[in-house]
């Protein structure tokens, strides 16, 4: 089993944000998690990546328990993510944003850093080149020395994905990557996600608030509502599920 969640439940005080969430992710899958605002989607990412510790249940990758591990340990096991509200290191350059995500890939110790030894030099060169190569994949190489806050919104979203990939993940978690984009940009983004998935051999979980966006590219979809899993299946099955229709109609029919 690859990424597995069993009976994951999380409370914020008295509020049950996620209840009895189960997941069996196979390598190279692309699955979607959809649901109205406040359904608990982002909380699931926060539980997987160790930002919050699940109240109950277990999450494992290749059999290794993740609940109780720190976020940086979990990232080290091959899980990377982006954020619903972009969380770049705003005052730092585009290049530094990506280089920071290379932290655990840079093989030199504090002493070598303090005295800028030969190994430091070699590693710094490797990291900078690797980061630039990655930026080039995302067509961001010309912005390398720019502070990341000065990038237009769409490019900031792309940079966040590039930064996540710099940690060398096996699994990429994307939290509403299309938020704030126009239909044209969304179309391109969805194609792009399919492409990086192949290019980097990734398994992807995609959170989306609007259902129709994920229908095209996801192989499997989970629907959440008030923390509970409402439905699960192929896109066509989800589309025709009356319970899902109902949950979304309550939201104003944003299908």
């Amino acid at each position: 089993m690859f990424l597995q969640a069993k009976g994951v439940t999380h409370y914020f005080g008295g509020l049950c944000a996620v209840s009895d969430f189960n997941l069996n992710l196979k390598p190279n899958e692309l699955i979607g998690i959809i649901g109205p605002n406040g359904a608990g989607k982002t909380t699931i990412f926060n539980l997987i990546t160790g930002v919050y510790k699940a109240t109950k249940g277990s999450i494992t990758i290749d059999g290794i328990e993740l609940v109780g591990k720190t976020p940086n340990q979990i990232t080290g096991l091959g899980i990377a993510r982006t954020f619903q509200n972009i969380r770049l290191f705003k005052d730092l350059t585009v290049l530094d944003n990506v280089r920071i995500a290379n932290y655990s890939q840079s093989k030199y110790n504090p002493i070598e850093a303090l005295f800028h030894t030969g190994r430091y030099d070699g590693e710094e060169r490797r990291i900078a080149n690797h980061a630039m190569d990655l930026l080039a994949v995302f067509k961001l190489q010309d912005y390398a020395d720019e502070a990341s806050k000065n990038l237009p919104y769409g490019l900031q979203r792309r940079l966040e994905i590039a930064r996540a990939l710099a940690t060398h993940p096996k699994i990429l978690l994307l939290d509403e990557p299309a938020a704030g984009m126009n239909p044209n940009e969304i179309g391109q983004l969805m194609e792009f996600i399919g492409w990086i998935r192949k290019e980097f051999g990734l398994t992807v979980i995609l959170i989306e608030h609007q259902m129709r966006l994920v229908m095209g590219i996801c192989e499997r979809i989970k629907v959440l509502d008030f923390g509970a899993t409402l439905a699960e299946g192929l896109p066509v099955e989800i589309q025709n599920n009356p319970k899902v229709m109902e949950a979304y109609l309550g939201e104003g029919g944003d299908l």
Partner: protein, 351 residues
């Protein structure tokens, strides 16, 4: 009138161009370092400057070490430590005990670098002890923990009679010379610069920007914070050791919260997250303190006021988050251009 102002503009332009030429010329840096070292020997040797000025220069040097090292924690990392005077005290006492009680007077000048190093190491170890509980959890406990630490150090020293208790240690030999100060400033600035421009330094910056995102991007934030705090404490200890051997008399009162506040003023005046800023802050502060000496107690009122005004009008300080190119490693300046050139060459060869 208008001609005059444009002349003025030209003159200013010319000056700024010359300035840019100087500061971007990195080959000048080693030359300046050698000249500085020679001068630091020559000035006291041939009495080129009077004793008073030499003393001020030494204080400037010690303050540069203090502000640069505190900037690591308060500027680059964005935490708030008020304990720097406490680490200074540790370095000062360890070194003073070594030179007054343990090492024979005849050997002391030769062993002085080791004595200073020992002061720094002691402060670093204590720094580690403070860092472990402080950075266990995410949150802003550091100000409180370091305040408590400062008080504990002071009352501990006051209550240990063998090291003079509240009376302190008098009669310390004046071993801090201009050359030694210069050398330690260069070491401190170089090592801290190296740290800042490494994966650990970038980790520190990312923690200031967004600690959770930093952790999620594989940065071991706890390790990075402890490392930063220990390095910062080490150099506070070094500065303390140099300070003890120029003041020639130390007591717990020397290392109180006012001393910590002075260092905070230098950091925020010069600019957070900038080595050039820390140097500038230390320089301006030390000179201002001397110029304002006739004001006596009013100085204590004026200095905090300066800080308040600065926080309102220039919250990041003079150099805030900007760096002088001299302090940036050469490769960091050209990394992206090198990559572009290499890529162009490759594209040409493949097409």
């Amino acid at each position: 009138m208008s001609k005059e102002s444009s002349d003025n503009g030209n003159w200013k332009n010319w000056l700024s161009r010359q300035w840019a030429k100087i500061v971007t010329n990195r080959k000048l840096l080693p030359v300046l370092l050698v000249i500085g070292l020679l001068l630091s020997f020559a000035i006291p040797q041939f009495g080129l400057l009077n004793q008073y000025i030499v003393l001020i220069l030494i204080y400037v040097g010690i303050n540069i070490i203090l502000s640069t090292s505190l900037n690591l924690v308060n500027g680059y990392m964005g935490e708030f430590s008020v304990g720097h005077a406490g680490f200074m005290a540790v370095g000062a006492y360890i070194s003073a005990i070594l030179t007054t009680k343990i090492i024979p007077d005849s050997l002391a000048p030769w062993l002085f670098p080791l004595v200073v190093f020992a002061g720094g190491t002691g402060a670093a170890l204590i720094g580690l002890m403070v860092a472990i509980p402080s950075f266990k959890t995410r949150g802003d406990y550091l100000a409180i923990v370091t305040l408590a630490f400062l008080m504990i150090v002071k009352s501990l020293i006051e209550n240990i009679e063998v090291i003079g208790g509240p009376r302190g240690i008098p009669g310390i030999t004046r071993l801090t010379t201009l050359p030694w100060t210069f050398i330690w400033v260069v070491i401190a600035v170089w090592v801290i610069r190296n740290f800042v421009y490494s994966k650990f330094g970038r980790g520190v910056l990312s923690i200031r920007e967004d600690e959770i995102a930093s952790d999620l991007m594989s940065v071991n934030s706890r390790q990075v914070k402890m490392l930063t705090f220990v390095i910062s404490s080490f150099f506070a200890g070094v500065a303390g050791a140099l300070f003890a051997h120029i003041l020639q008399f130390i007591s717990p009162r020397v290392f109180d919260i006012i001393k910590s506040t002075d260092i905070l003023i230098m950091v925020y005046l010069g600019g957070i997250g900038s080595i050039a800023g820390s140097i500038l802050g230390a320089l301006i502060f030390t000179i201002l303190l001397e110029v304002l000496r006739p004001l006596g107690m009013w100085r204590m009122v004026l200095m905090p006021l300066v800080l308040v005004v600065l926080m309102i009008y220039r919250p990041r300080g003079i150099m805030g988050l900007r760096e002088f190119r001299w302090f940036v490693p050469g490769y960091d300046l050209i990394a992206t251009n090198l990559w572009r050139k290499k890529k162009e060459a490759k594209d040409v060869s493949t097409s």
